[in-house]
Structure formats: structure tokens, C-alpha cells
């Protein structure tokens, strides 16, 4: 059971490490993050990372689908799905192995961003609690993006369509909260409840609310379940 997940995880992670795309995406993320971090620091002269975490969340809307698009759509495109599905591997094992590989890659990116709080700590004394809750929020956010990315990859055999639909869905989840400013009543409340930015924002303010954690975890679980169904449906039709 675990062995199959681990084999697929290893294979996908190796695929990332050997692909130029992953390095290009990491380089872009880090360059932009460095830019946002230094601009915020030099203009405000406040030792905090809220604006960086906000900007990173937006950058990942574009970066996450690019790195997840291959995971399932690529198998379909290359015909290797026929390989995987005739092996003693279940669809949940396959999806989980792939998901964990993408999560590990982004975990590495998160570790790379530790340089920013490192700089702040060496220069002054930022609020460590807020940085820690921000990182928790950022981790949950990333995990959610990746789950949605995999889900989009499971609908199609085109990697381009997988990544474009990934951007679309993530962007929609990000901006849907803006509706609540314009619409009052239950619809506005609903939009707010659905919005990633609303739930993410509290972590950046130093608040850990189980509602938010449940929100992110449910999107992850639902997306992964839909991914599994997506693979099963295409193989079984």
C-alpha cells in the first residue's frame, strides 16, 4: 500500500529534480519574492512579512498549476496511463504519490523562503509568532493550490489546458472574496466563505482559527477525491 505510493512519489520527485521547468519556476518565484521583500522592507522600514506572503500567494496561483499540469495529463498524453493502470497500483495510491511529490517540491521552495525571516531576524526583532502563523497559512495555501492543480490535470490529456484551467480556478477562488464588498446579504457571505484570500488573511494577522484550517483541508480532500474520480472516469469510459 505505502510502497506503491512511495515508488510513485520517488519517481515524480526525481522527474521534478531532473526537469528544467521546475528550476525555472523556482527561480522565478524566488526572484519575485526577493523583489517584493526588499521593496516592502525599504519603503516601509517595518520588519514584517505580511505583504510578501500576500504576493507569494498570488505568484503561486500561476506557479502551482505549471508544476502540477504534467502529473496526470502528462501520463495520459504519453500513453503511460495504460502502464500505471495495468500495474497493481490503485488510483488513490497513484494520485497521492503524485500529490506528495509536488508538495515536497513546494516544501523545498518554502524552505528557500526562510532566508527572508532570517534577514529580518538578523536586522531587528520581528514578531516571531506572526511569522510562524503566516508560514502555517502559507503551507496550507500551497497544499490547496497543488490539490486543485492536480484536479485540473486529471480532467484532460492536455497539459496546457490543465494549467490554464488551474490558473482560472485558483484566481476565481482568490478574487471571489471581493464580491462580499459589493454584495451584501447571504450571497456576499457565501462568497466570503469561499474565498481563499479571506481565509488566508487571518493567518497573516497571527490568528489560527480552526475554521480556516478546516476550510483548506476540505478543499484539499475534495480536490484529491475529484482527481481520483477523474482518472477512474477516463480510464473506465
Amino acid at each position: 500500500m505505502m510502497a506503491a505510493i512511495y515508488s510513485i512519489f520517488k519517481k515524480e520527485l526525481k522527474g521534478y529534480i531532473q526537469s528544467p521547468l521546475a528550476y525555472a519556476v523556482i527561480a522565478v518565484i524566488m526572484a519575485l519574492a526577493g523583489y517584493f521583500f526588499s521593496v516592502a522592507l525599504f519603503t516601509s522600514r517595518i520588519a514584517e512579512m505580511t505583504s510578501l506572503f500576500m504576493n507569494l500567494a498570488v505568484i503561486l496561483i500561476f506557479a502551482a498549476p505549471v508544476l502540477t499540469m504534467r502529473l496526470i495529463a502528462g501520463e495520459e498524453q504519453d500513453g503511460t496511463m495504460e502502464f500505471l493502470l495495468t500495474y497493481p497500483v490503485t488510483i488513490p495510491q497513484m494520485v497521492l504519490g503524485k500529490y506528495l511529490a509536488s508538495l515536497t517540491l513546494f516544501g523545498a521552495i518554502i524552505v528557500l523562503t526562510f532566508i527572508f525571516p532570517g534577514i529580518l531576524l538578523s536586522l531587528s526583532s520581528p514578531d516571531k509568532g506572526v511569522i510562524l502563523t503566516s508560514y502555517l497559512g502559507f503551507l496550507l495555501l500551497t497544499a490547496t493550490y497543488l490539490a486543485i492543480g492536480i484536479m485540473c490535470s486529471s480532467f484532460t490529456s492536455s497539459q496546457i489546458i490543465a494549467s490554464v484551467s488551474g490558473f482560472g480556478i485558483l484566481l476565481l477562488f482568490w478574487i471571489v472574496g471581493w464580491l462580499s464588498g459589493n454584495i451584501s446579504g447571504p450571497l456576499g457571505q457565501f462568497a466570503k466563505a469561499l474565498s481563499i484570500s479571506e481565509h488566508y488573511g487571518d493567518f497573516l494577522r497571527g490568528v489560527i482559527d480552526t475554521t480556516h484550517i478546516i476550510y483548506f483541508l476540505s478543499i484539499i480532500i475534495v480536490s484529491l477525491l475529484i482527481s481520483m474520480l477523474g482518472v477512474a472516469k477516463r480510464a473506465w469510459s
Partner: protein, 322 residues
Amino acid sequence: MIELSNVTKNYGNKTALKGISLFVKRGEILGLLGPNGAGKSTTMRIITGYMPPTSGNVRVAGYDIVKQAVTAKRFIGYLPENPPLYKDMTVKDFITFSAELKGFKGKEKTSRVEKVMEEVGVGDVKNRLISHISRGYRQRVGLAQALVGDPEVLILDEPTVGLDPHQINEIRQLIKNLAGRRTVILSSHILPEVSSLCHRVAIINKGKLIAEDTTENLSNALMGHQEINIQVKGPKEEVLLCLQNIPGVESVCSDSSGEDTSVFRVTAEKDKDIREKLFFTMAAKGYAILEMKSSKMSLEEIFLELVTEEDAVSSASKEDDK
């Protein structure tokens, strides 16, 4: 070992398989034949669990391929028509990955991978990316992947396509060596290949199984009588008379004749072997038999006969429907 009962498959409203039942014994090599689009690949994909049948069921080594998928798949090695390979992996990495998914670990895994690479002859390209190796090598890597789990059941869809004659020979030899220990279903367009490798053939046309037997039995069944070609040295008319008087002989016709030899085609009843009698009759008369050959239908002829017969029947019944 492999059991299909009344398997059907629809793609949307197109019917690909119309109720196929098939049984393959342990250790047997079955050849799957049929024109393009007849449903060979679909049948194989269903047996290997790539897709479920619309109705009916398939058991491999006693396990249902849909309900007990993971267990059943452990028994199967499958080489699809286009070998599915991860082009960005090296040959060795890919085969190792396959071995892991088949449940091998540690030392056992390493030795299994080495062994299978040697078996199919990809040792000299093992560190190259699959995207950089030739079609023939890819086919072998595909085969390595199918063999790595040491499966009891091998499903090979066109295993020799795209290979050069030398490689074809090697792969055939490999398949022959597997026989006895493993149960094999293989499809091929090359009919001599099927008749030389397979114990039995199953012919599929338009999603239906139209024949399933040994080549010999199919040939006998289709011919309806036995046919012997014989070349005899002696006066033509008298030899002809002699031949016609042998019991069991239905008809004799002379094909061609040289100065003092003639060639005859003798047809006789299906169940009676008249060759011995023929020999002694000629010997008693002092006519020398220079050549005697019992002619059987080749697999090509069987195949064409069955498939066209089937087409004729189905088009006739369509006419009736109108």
C-alpha cells in the same frame, strides 16, 4: 488461467466486443488474430484491467480483474501495442520503477532488474534516456517491463512490430522459452509468427470470436477433406486409374506431367489417412513415388476464409433485415 465469460464492451454507442468467451489453460500460448479494428487490443486491455468490460467478467489466475484488481494485476505482465514508456527516464530507472510497482524490494529488486535487462538485451543502453534509444530497443524495454514481475500471465499486443528481422527472431525465441512456465496471449499481424509460436489461435472479427482451436483442427474443419499432392513416375493413365481405385479416395486430378512423371492431386475422406495405402499400391505396381505431400491450409488461408465467410454471412443477414 485466463477466463473470459461473455465479455462485451461499448464505447459510447459503438459496440467493440459482442460477447467474447475464452479460456486459456496454464502454460498455453494463445494467438489472437483479427483484422484491424476487430477488437483484439480492446480484449487485451480488458484482460489486463486497463478498462472494465461493459458486461461479462474476466478472471486471471482465479481473481476477478475488476473486483480483485490489485491481486489479479500482480499475475499479469502486459506489453501494449505502443509500449508506454517514460521518455525522460533512463532504461534502468524505468525498469526499476516497474519492479517496485510490482512489489519487489531491496536486493531482490536489483537482481530482478539486472536479470530481465539481460534477458531482453538492453544492458548496453541501460543508462540512456528512453527518448534517446531506437524503436527496437524501446520495444525491448516494453517487454522488460512486462517480464519484470516474473508474471504467470503475459499479454503481448503485437510484440514484434517495428523490430528488424534479427530482433524479431530473438523476441520469438524469448517468447518460446517462456512457454510452459507462463500463460501467454499474443496478438500479431504476422500469421506465420502466430502459427510457429502458438498452441492455439482465436480469431476475432467485428467484436465476435469466430473461431478458436489449434491451427491443425481449424484447417481440417475448414477443408472438409484431406488433400495429397503426389508425383509418380509411370504411365499417366494407368497411375490415374490405380489411384482412383484406392478405397477412400474421392477424386483424383492430374496437375501436370513431364516425360514419364506426373503430378496428381488426390482428395480423400477427412478421417482416413490414405498415404500408407497409396504408397503400397504404387509400390506393388512398380511406380515410384518421387514426392508426396499432404497439403494443409496455411493460417493465412484459414484466417481469410473465416473472416470473409463471416463477412458474407453478416452482410447476407443485413440484407435479410432490410
